[in-house]
């Protein structure tokens, strides 16, 4: 049989096997494992069969805990069942894993191993989650490469059926799960041959059945529980042998041999480094390189970590070894050593003690690679070198500078061990430009031949919009075993000119390398536009330098921002990988493959891009003079020290070099760092026309990135204004000597155009111009910088005088949420900005995991900030699954400390004054002036307390700030509110405590790529509901209304901003629990995001998203608490939904069911509206429960 080779990412390689050997997949999306679940779902929807000829069922659950429970139930009922997860998801599965293992149940959980949330969270890979499962009783089998991930997935399945011990099979999150590499696929016949059918029957026979009933999972007492736990021992004892046998069988079938512990090196090696996962491959390659240079070192990879077979380990480790370094990709604070290290020390010590080994080698341990910190040969060599020392460091770290505990080893960051014939290329792209997608195709093109191998890995920054991507692409005539970033590239492409000013693009370029730059400046003019350090690198390294204005080509042929095809063609042209004709043909073949389903026009457009690319490519004659631009500082010089020393370094891509001493130990970071970022990602920005502007505030309210600021100020404040500074007379009555300015922070703008779309002020000339129009940024940049600087010095509007009740007034309130990394046109962020304007200086936010956590708190970009007085939004994130409870915890603590403050006030009354205490205790705290007055009182109180020598006074000082009413906001998306924390949210709402819940409802899991949630509407497609969701979204509002004492509102800023404003203010003022459901457009809806606010208006006009407020306080006045704020449906549902790809796509892929779902959805909308209308029409006395109104 001819082996089939393909180039896949690790997730696909694993899922390919897992899907074929299971009947049920119970899943929940979590990075970096989501890809496996999505593939399983897609295959199931397409009807792909497993090896038994059945189509596996894929069931999305509400949380990983639910997925584990579902897996458990399915296993107990006899089906072969799996799940895919990582990190916090695996943590939620732990309780069930003990049960599944305790019941000796065959299953394999496929994990893309990832860091855990501690002081800070991370989506990237390490073994912390795996290590946390050690005690569950699951076997742990880890792969070091994409091929291993593919193969071990099958070996694990074969072994679990024989052993009855459940398995976790893991690859390193991102490094392996997301790496593309060439592998040999296991044919289905070999998969079948590996699975012993009789063991499957045994598995079924052990399941629950009324035909042969038994009881499993009983409760036991001190007399028997212990023995039951010990009864499993023989199964664990046999497992290593079973796995080894499965590996042997696998080798017989495929020719690929695995062992429980793989040793590579001479049999007389003296130094060995032990490692697990992808790091083992780095160690192995480094050892090979060192041995070629005459050293005697070995690399030992642990594949089966649990059950740990001392026998196999000792057999693998040569007797000659005198020193061992064990590398752990995890962290256990306070432990004497990390877990793998401890196990090996224990095994060796026992072997020596029992005479199975003569000498005890020196065993040191170290940590490396947390959160996908790149682990490269220089670091591996440092571990080998450390073992040479007479007194090697134990508990060392690799890859960081630990100037606090001194753990870090020095290493050679420039060490290059790769063979000369491996070609290494680096591509820096902008998120939306398609660079990554093109490289996913390139890696396949480059590995198609029998002796062609290629690998690709993608490195992203943290922004949802305008992110920087780095594609690391290797290819050559031998398999690529280099799971680390490229540091020595012979080809470097920079697809965005401005990146040259932000990070060291050419640092990794080798001497003589080719440098391709996408440049708006042609070959004659580009040199003088380069930063001087870049010029120097080009000259010093003798780089060949090419430019292309790919953006112009893309624009000319109609490709928009997608530069991928153009630049990919240039790469193939310059890299001479393939003969030009072959390369072009291959690129076109893959374009056809990629875009065929999108239509011929798209294919042709990309073909046109290929054909236009090479003509637009020019080599630059490199001059000898350094006449370029000086590199500006990353952040402005007056930024705070932390921002300059830490934040700026991370922004510049030098985060790896920040020493431990500069990092906060407890995850506490300053907010407001996005103001220093100045990402300049927009080509076009809004330009204000003061003459047309009606000063209504409609632009500011919808701006997702808070780049539109308004001020009014006295005429005289304009003295000294820079030339281009714009202003207009205030157009409201009562401000005769005042001016109005709308300032656009153009460097922070994403260019989404939402403000322009929302501007109601059209030019009377009928030319379609409005008071804001998009225009090119570059010509106005310098002038706008000056204007912004002047604007910031203008007096800020007095919050006490601002009218909070309308949009026009709100524009004058300073946003304390600004310049986030959210997508251009994001529907969520305008709401967050709005609450920060209204309540920001006394606001505490509990944020669920999801988009709103990432764009709000992905270091170094922190958009929540303080005002000029130093007061602002205090923000934290607990977990995805407990955010409501976390927020309730805020409330309880605030209330307790407020109570304490009030009680202590009574005690100090004589000393600080009766009137002051009375005023402090009786402050109404509703309007801005109330808060202003209360804060003034607290200042006075603190002054007076300072003079009092008592414990009470000191205690009161610590809680005095709680005398200002604090605003608690619990924020999250629909995945959080409707699914994973629905129980917690329900419980919190039921408590009647003063918390404000804001649900940013995009109707899908936006952060992980648009998976279906229980908020996903009937008839919309989403991942895990690709043929359209068949049930309507949950009516969370009605659930909350049923409590009777919860304030509930449904809002849509784009439909009725005033109603949204009223609802948010009422919710905040309401003394009990409040729930606000906010409609948020999302790129996962498939709309032109510029039109998002109009789409909100359509959602409301169609009756799909009625606006309403349920205010329990109305009931006590005898009024109906339910007010419907939007009129009857006046737009057919189809006119709203078919403007969104998520619905429209089904009219093409499943036209008949789309029509049926439209009919049902339309009926549901009308019926829902009738229900709300009924509620709105009720007599105020008819709302249940009304126990609070019960007659006394």
């Amino acid at each position: 049989m001819t082996p089939v080779t393909v180039t896949l990412d690790g997730n696909t390689a694993v899922a390919h096997v897992a899907y074929r050997v299971n009947e049920i997949c119970a899943i929940y999306p979590i990075t970096p494992s989501s890809g496996m679940a999505e593939l399983a779902d897609a295959w199931s929807a397409e009807g792909l069969k497993n090896i038994w000829g059945e189509v596996p069922s894929v069931q999305e659950m509400q949380a990983e805990g639910g997925a584990a429970g579902c897996v458990h139930g399915a296993l107990q009922s006899g089906a072969l069942t799996t799940t895919f997860t990582a990190s916090q998801g695996l943590m939620l599965m732990l309780p069930n894993m003990y049960k599944i293992a305790g019941e000796l149940t065959s299953t394999v959980f496929h994990v893309a191993a990832r860091a855990l949330a501690a002081g800070t969270s991370s989506i990237f890979g390490d073994h912390q989650d795996i290590m946390a499962t050690r005690a569950t009783g699951f076997a742990l089998l880890g792969a070091s490469s994409v091929q291993e991930g593919h193969d071990l997935a099958l070996i694990a399945q074969a072994a679990t059926l024989a052993a009855r011990v459940p398995f976790i099979h893991f690859t390193d999150g991102f490094r392996t799960s997301h790496e593309y590499n060439k592998l040999t696929l296991i044919p289905d016949e070999q998969i079948r041959a590996m699975i012993d059918e009789t063991l499957v029957w045994d598995h079924r026979a052990r399941a629950l059945s009324p035909e042969r009933p038994f009881i499993r999972g009983t409760w036991q007492n001190p007399d028997t529980y212990f023995q039951t736990r010990e009864a499993v021992n023989p199964y664990y004892a046999k497992t290593p042998g079973i796995v080894a046998a499965a590996m042997d069988r696998f080798a017989g079938l495929t020719g690929r041999r695995y062992e429980l512990f793989r040793y590579d090196g001479p049999n007389d090696a003296e130094r060995v480094v032990v490692c697990m996962g992808s790091g083992a491959e780095v160690v192995r390659e480094t050892a090979r390189w060192l041995n070629a240079k005459g050293e005697k070192v070995g690399a030992l990879q642990v594949l089966l970590y649990r059950p740990f077979s001392a026998e196999h380990f000792l057999a693998a480790l040569p007797e000659s070894v005198r020193a061992v370094a064990v590398l752990d990709r995890t962290k256990e604070p306070g432990s004497p050593m990390e877990p793998l290290h401890a196990d090996i020390v224990g095994v060796l010590a026992d072997a020596v003690a029992t005479g199975r080994r003569k000498l005890m080698p020196r065993v040191i341990g170290g940590r490396y690679g947390l959160s996908s910190k790149d682990f490269h040969p220089g670091m591996a060599k440092a571990a080998f070198d450390e073992l040479k020392k007479p007194d090697p460091k134990n508990g060392f770290t690799l890859g960081i500078i630990d100037d606090v505990s001194g753990t870090s080893l020095d290493y050679d960051a420039a060490l290059d061990i790769e063979p000369e014939n491996t070609v290494r290329c680096l591509f820096y792209g902008l998120g939306a430009d398609g660079t990554v997608g093109a490289n996913k195709n390139s890696v396949k093109i480059l590995s198609e031949g029998p002796d062609q191998y290629a690998q690709a890995y993608f490195d992203y920054d943290s922004h949802k919009s305008g992110a920087e991507t780095a594609s690391h692409l290797r290819f050559g005539p031998r398999p690529i075993a280099a799971p680390y970033l490229i540091r020595h590239a012979s080809f470097v492409a920079c697809h965005k000119f401005s990146f040259l000013f932000k990070r060291d693009i050419l640092g990794p370029a080798r001497p003589g390398a080719t440098f391709l730059l996408n440049s708006p400046h042609g070959p004659e003019k580009v040199w003088a536009e380069l930063p001087r350090p870049v010029q120097k690198q080009i000259i010093d390294k003798k780089l060949r330098f090419f430019v292309i204005d790919a953006s112009e080509v893309a624009l000319r042929i109609g490709l928009g921002p997608r530069l991928n095809t153009i630049l990919q063609t240039c790469f193939f042209h310059l890299a001479h990988v393939l003969p030009p004709d072959v390369a072009i043909a291959q690129i076109k073949r893959f374009i056809k493959k990629t875009y065929e389903s999108k239509g011929e026009a798209v294919v042709k457009l990309n073909f046109a891009a290929v054909d236009a690319a090479v003509d637009a490519l020019h080599e630059v004659a490199v001059p000898a003079d350094l006449n370029g631009v000086a590199l500006p500082p990353i952040v402005r010089p007056d930024a705070p020290a932390f921002v300059r020393e830490v934040t700026a370094e991370i922004m510049a891509g030098r985060g790896d070099l920040i020493p431990v001493s500069l990092m906060p130990a407890d995850g506490t970071f300053p907010g407001g760092t996005t103001q220093y970022e100045k990402r300049n990602i927009a080509v076009e920005v809004p330009i204000w026309d003061p003459g047309l502007c009606i000063q209504c505030g409609q632009c500011g309210i919808v701006c997702p990135h808070a780049v539109i600021r308004a001020k009014t100020y006295p005429n005289r404040a304009l003295d000294g204004a820079p030339g281009g500074f714009k202003s207009a007379p205030v157009n409201a009555r009562g401000y005769p000597e005042s001016r109005f300015t709308l300032q656009f922070y153009v460097e922070d703008c994403t260019g989404c155009g939402v403000c322009v779309e929302n501007c109601p002020a059209y030019s009377p000339a009928g030319d379609g111009k409005r008071a804001i129009n998009m225009g090119e940024k570059f010509p106005i940049l310098v002038q706008e910088r000056e204007s912004i600087a002047f604007f910031e010095k203008l007096p800020s509007p007095d919050r006490e005088r601002v009218n909070f009740a309308n949009i026009r007034g709100v524009q004058f309130l300073e946003p304390l949420f600004e310049f986030s990394g959210a997508c251009g046109g994001c529907g969520e962020t305008p709401y967050l900005k709005l609450i920060s304007q209204l309540f920001g200086d006394r606001m505490q936010v509990a944020n669920a995991t999801g988009c709103s956590a990432i764009y709000a708190a992905n270091t170094p970009a922190h958009p929540w900030r303080a005002n000029a007085d130093g007061r602002g939004v205090a923000w934290a994130n607990s977990l995805f699954e407990d955010n409501a409870e976390f927020g309730l915890g805020y409330r309880l603590a605030i209330d307790a400390q407020t109570r304490a403050a009030r009680a202590l006030l009574e005690g100090v009354k004589p000393a600080v004054g009766v009137d002051l205490v009375k005023a402090l205790l009786e402050s109404r705290q509703q309007s801005e002036s109330d808060f202003f007055a209360q804060r003034a009182r607290i200042v006075t109180l603190k002054e007076k307390l300072a003079a009092i020598q008592s414990q009470e006074a000191r205690r009161l000082e610590t809680v005095a700030d709680f005398l200002v009413r604090r605003s608690v906001w619990i924020v999250g998306g629909d995945g959080w509110a409707y699914d994973i924390d629905s129980g917690g949210l329900d419980h919190v709402l039921a408590q009647g405590r003063d918390v404000n819940v804001l649900v940013l409802d995009t109707e899908v899991y936006s952060n992980t790529g648009g998976q279906s949630s229980k908020a996903t509407p009937l008839g919309a497609s989403a991942k895990f509901a690709s043929a359209g969701k068949r049930t309507p979204r949950k009516d969370l509002a009605l659930q909350a209304i049923s409590y009777g004492n919860v304030y509930v509102a449904q809002i849509a800023l784009g439909a009725n901003a005033e109603q949204a404003l009223i609802a948010l203010r009422e919710a905040e003022a309401y003394p009990g629990a409040s729930l606000v459901l906010a409609y948020c457009q999302c790129i996962a809806h498939g709309i032109d995001m510029r039109t998002g606010m109009k789409q909100q208006a359509r959602a409301v006009a169609s009756g799909y998203w009625p606006l309403f407020r349920f205010d329990p306080t109305m009931r006590s006045q005898g009024l109906n608490p339910f007010r419907l704020d939007s009129p009857r449906p006046r737009l057919p549902l189809r006119d709203y939904i078919y403007r969104e790809l998520r619905y429209e796509t089904l009219t093409r892929s499943h036209p008949e069911s789309a029509a049926e779902m439209l009919r049902q959805a339309q009926a549901a909308v009308l019926e829902n509206y009738r229900i709300y209308e009924d509620l709105a029409a009720r007599d105020g006395g008819r709302f249940l429960p009304h126990w609070e109104d019960a007659p006394k």
Partner: protein, 334 residues
């Protein structure tokens, strides 16, 4: 009574055919038209540039946010996605299988490759015939009438070379010599003519000073132009002729048949009254035939077509025109 007719070589049970409208844009609509008794259905036109623009727009929306951040390679499951054209072809495929009457695909191309490529795909998808909805406004004053006509013929030739099913051509009335053009198109291979296209007739909105391009439904009054030209062309055109525009009752059907049309097509009346209106048209025709004692369409079809030689016809019509106008103004003056 035999209402059957032949159009483009297709045997139809009667001469009332549904012409392109939003009703024939989806499978449900096509099946409703078939259930209502349409003898054949011309599906809503496929506009090449619209299809291309839609495909490019969809691709751009699907690509939004793709490969931009580590947590999601993209936001849409594109495995089951179907291109815009492919989805339209799928409707055609299913309609051809299920409707039980001939389905004619209407194509409005833009590029040469588009006309031919799309036509081939329509044939593969099961269309019984193709209606080339050639529509272009010759806004370039340097372009001569002959060049415009040749461009029509070229399209027909190119399409006919690549497809084996019958091809009809739908044209507008505004040519120097429609009858001559008909001959040219027949020479290029056209199997039939559809007379006529509704023309682009924008109004101006005085409030916004912008062109208003809304389309009004046709009225029975609008049959007069096609009526005249069909009467002139049908005797000399070997292929089929479909009359379209203004068919609201059986009367218009009859009138079109009398001047030599093989079928009468209607969209406006169906949009206004629904597919069941086809029954009204057919029974109107049948009633008229019963009253007049005609047992088949051939008994009266073409009876008022102008069989005289072309020169005589022109002279006669000029005289008729003169008389009408004179009488008409005379009546106004009176």
């Amino acid at each position: 009574m035999d209402l059957s007719t032949k159009y483009l070589g297709l045997d139809l049970k009667h001469p009332v055919v549904a012409s392109p409208s939003q009703l024939s844009a989806d499978l449900d609509g096509v099946l409703r038209l078939a259930d209502a008794g349409a003898a054949a259905i011309v599906m809503a036109s496929i506009y090449e540039e619209q299809i291309s623009a839609e495909e490019i727009r969809h691709a751009a929306l699907t690509d939004q946010g793709a490969d931009s951040q580590p947590e999601a390679a993209g936001y849409f499951s594109t495995r089951e996605d179907r291109g815009v054209l492919e989805s339209r072809l799928e409707i055609l495929r299913k309609a051809s299988e299920r409707a039980g009457v001939p389905i004619i695909a209407s194509l409005n191309g833009q590029s040469d490759a588009g006309w031919v490529g799309f036509a081939q795909k329509l044939q593969q998808a099961g269309a019984s015939a193709i209606e080339l909805n050639i529509y272009r406004v010759p806004a370039d004053s340097a372009e001569t009438g002959a060049q415009v006509e040749e461009s029509y013929a070229a399209i027909v030739r190119a399409v006919k070379q690549q497809v084996s099913i019958p091809v009809a051509v739908k044209i507008a009335p505004f040519f120097s010599s429609p009858a001559n053009l008909a001959t040219k198109l027949a020479g290029a291979g056209a199997d039939g003519l559809v007379l006529f296209n509704r023309f682009y007739e924008p109004d101006i909105d005085l409030k916004t000073l912008t062109p208003q391009v809304n389309l009004h439904l046709s009225t029975p009054y609008d049959i007069r132009v096609p009526l005249m030209w069909i009467s002139l062309i049908s005797p000399r055109f070997k292929g089929s002729i479909a009359a379209t525009t203004g068919v609201w009752s059986g009367e218009e059907v009859v009138k079109y048949l009398i001047v030599g049309a093989d079928v009468a097509m209607t969209a406006s009346a169906l949009v206004k009254f629904g597919p069941a209106h086809i029954g009204v048209l057919v029974s109107g025709l049948r009633d008229w035939m019963e009253r007049r004692g005609f047992a088949s369409l051939d008994a009266f079809r073409g009876r008022l077509a102008d069989h005289r030689r072309a020169f005589d016809a022109a002279a006669l019509m000029r005289a008729e025109y003169r008389d009408i106008l004179t009488a008409g103004y005379a009546s106004v003056i009176r």
